[in-house]
């Protein structure tokens, strides 16, 4: 009894974890279902059909490819622009610093639907045709702040003496940057880039207002929710989950091995 009371907080924590994981398990289980009819809500019988033919659904894999492509370009764009801003903010004192910080903070503190509607209204009135480019522009815009925040934290926590040491050893500014600064900041840039990729790939709200008739993967899922969800959506969801967990675990293992070696 005392043991239970002492670990009450752990039980509550485990319950919370179960709440977080439950939908993923449901998605995984229902990826092996063979539904009667169009809706995959009720368990009928076990089948691996959807796993064997993941691209059998019209337009689904195309939308998946498009989402991956946009996420890749948006990540590159946001990471390059965001890293530059992060260096400026972390390394230099200049007049517009406060305003810049505010401008970086605002997109993260704004409900997505507000940003989505205003950018959509602008494109509409400038007669910019909606599609690939408007989606990409919007995604770079909202990923930018997250990259700046991630990279800035890393640059700020870096010991400036390491760069001074490199300069004392006659490294040129470029050499110092490439061989000392960049490797040290790399984890920050990597986490900013990963975050952008995930945010862009999964974004629905901003894309919905700026895509026109172009269909990304989240938009495909949204549409299918009305028409009937194919089992293949669960397959993609499960595969994404498994791949991401493997990547994170591999990263962790690599990191700890590197630490052990050092």
């Amino acid at each position: 009894m005392r043991w239970i009371r002492k670990n009450l907080v752990v039980f509550a924590g485990v319950l919370c974890l179960a709440y977080l994981i439950l939908p993923n398990l449901v998605v995984m289980v229902f990826s092996f279902n063979k539904p009667n009819g169009r809706f995959n809500y009720e368990w009928t019988r076990f089948s691996t059909d959807a796993w064997e033919h993941p691209c059998d659904v019209a337009d689904m894999c195309g939308s998946l490819g498009l989402s991956l492509q946009i996420a890749l370009y948006a990540t590159i764009g946001a990471t390059v622009l965001g890293t530059m801003i992060a260096f400026a903010l972390a390394r230099y004192r200049f007049k517009a610093r406060g305003t810049t910080n505010m401008l970086i903070f605002l997109p993260m503190a704004m409900p997505e639907v507000v940003m989505a509607a205003s950018l959509g209204t602008l494109f509409l009135n400038m007669r910019v045709p909606f599609g690939f480019w408007t989606i990409l522009i919007a995604h770079i815009m909202f990923c930018l702040s997250f990259v700046v925040t991630a990279v800035k934290a890393r640059v700020m926590s870096m010991d400036p003496r390491l760069e001074q040491a490199a300069q004392d050893l006659y490294a040129s500014p470029l050499q110092t940057f490439l061989r000392v600064t960049l490797p040290l900041v790399a984890p920050g840039i990597a986490s900013g880039a990963l975050l952008s990729f995930a945010l862009s790939f999964d974004d629905f709200i901003i894309t919905n207002f700026n895509a026109g008739s172009t269909v990304t993967f989240p938009m495909f899922v949204w549409g299918s929710a009305q028409r009937g969800t194919p089992v293949q959506i669960n397959v993609i969801g499960t595969a994404m989950f498994v791949i991401a967990v493997l990547v994170v675990v591999a990263g962790q293992l690599l990191g700890s091995r590197r630490k052990a070696r050092a």
């Binding site: 907080v9 509550a12 924590g13 919370c16 974890l17 709440y19 977080l20 994981i21 439950l22 939908p23 449901v26 998605v27 229902f30 009720e42 622009l81 965001g82 530059m84 801003i85 400026a88 390394r91 517009a96 810049t100 401008l103 970086i104 997109p107 503190a109 704004m110 409900p111 997505e112 639907v113 507000v114 940003m115 509607a117 205003s118 950018l119 209204t121 602008l122 509409l124 009135n125 919007a138 770079i140 815009m141 930018l144 995930a198 999964d202 709200i205 919905n208 207002f209 899922v221 949204w222 959506i233 669960n234 993609i236 969801g237 989950f241 791949i243 991401a244 967990v245 994170v248 962790q252």
Partner: protein, 292 residues
């Protein structure tokens, strides 16, 4: 020499230029443009003109204030639930997890990787009328209780406020847990021991030491949950009915279906203004030195 110094002074501006230009053109300019759109009148065929028609704001408010109120109500409840549910988990990861810490952190972030929409659709399956959850709640007569409170209707959960709030709580929970964990992790365990040595009971330690020290995480977490939850329309659309529509649903349908851009603009402007005002007030009241 002086020229070199001048060039050096310009470095931060060159670094800022492309990114800030992007934000000015695609974030700030649209906001300003949105302000002008909200006072325009006209139609899609005839074109829109700025006529300083402020009545749009008034009309939008009088017509859609139930959705506004509902948005703030649902996301406030979801935020409180996130705090109540997420705190024990963040606490467990920070102080009790030991070598499981990284595994649990991965498990908290991992659900993110399955698409937001797919996971929300999974809640339809979980909360389905004949499903295990609803049957259990019925057998325990919990749904009778919640129905009398007006959160559910009859013996079902789907298409009720409870389903929407459950979805919101679920979707934004990681945004609460991660900042809570970050601020809890920074607390020195010796403070707990010291409080214990001074004969504080565990709950007193929590109330007087742990919780106050985790305030930066509480403030950041509640903001990160409340703001996106207020603007969300996916949960209300997929898990609710027209009776659970939130303001995001209205903006979406005004923009994409009705094509009434001035109303959509006015609504999103009101939403933004109210949220900014609430956030300012909240940070003043509960804010810590780290945050503003």
């Amino acid at each position: 020499m002086r020229r070199a110094a001048g060039r050096k002074r310009r470095v931060p501006y060159w670094l800022l230029l492309p990114g800030i230009a992007w934000l000015l053109v695609f974030f700030v300019a649209p906001m300003i443009y949105q302000a002008s759109t909200s006072v325009q009148t006209g139609s899609l065929e005839a074109g829109f003109k700025v006529t300083w028609h402020f009545a749009t704001y008034w009309d939008a408010l009088t017509e859609y204030y139930p959705q506004f109120l509902r948005s703030f109500e649902y996301s406030a409840i979801a935020t409180v639930l996130c705090l109540a549910i997420g705190y024990p988990l963040a606490y467990t990861i920070a102080f009790r997890a030991g070598r499981w810490r990284n595994v649990i952190l991965i498990l908290v972030i991992a659900p993110f990787f399955t698409s937001f929409l797919i996971r929300t659709l999974a809640w339809e399956t979980i909360l389905a009328d004949g499903g295990f959850v609803v049957q259990t709640l019925n057998q325990l007569h919990i749904l009778d209780l919640t129905s009398s409170l007006g959160i559910t209707q009859g013996h079902r959960v789907l298409a009720t406020p409870l389903a929407v709030i459950c979805g919101l709580t679920y979707n934004f929970l990681p945004f609460m847990i991660l900042p809570l964990y970050t601020s809890l992790e920074r607390i020195d365990g010796k403070l707990h021991e010291a409080a214990g040595d001074l004969y504080a009971k565990p709950f007193t330690v929590f109330r007087k030491v742990t919780f106050p020290l985790s305030m930066p995480g509480v403030v950041a977490g509640t903001l990160l949950t409340f703001i996106p939850a207020t603007g969300d329309y996916i949960n209300a659309e997929l898990l609710g009915t027209t009776n659970q529509k939130m303001i995001g649903n209205v903006i979406q349908s005004q923009f994409l279906r009705v094509l009434d851009y001035p109303t959509a603009a006015a609504l999103s402007f009101i939403l933004m203004a109210v949220i900014l005002a609430m956030v300012m007030f909240y940070i003043r009241k509960a804010g810590t030195e780290e945050l503003v």
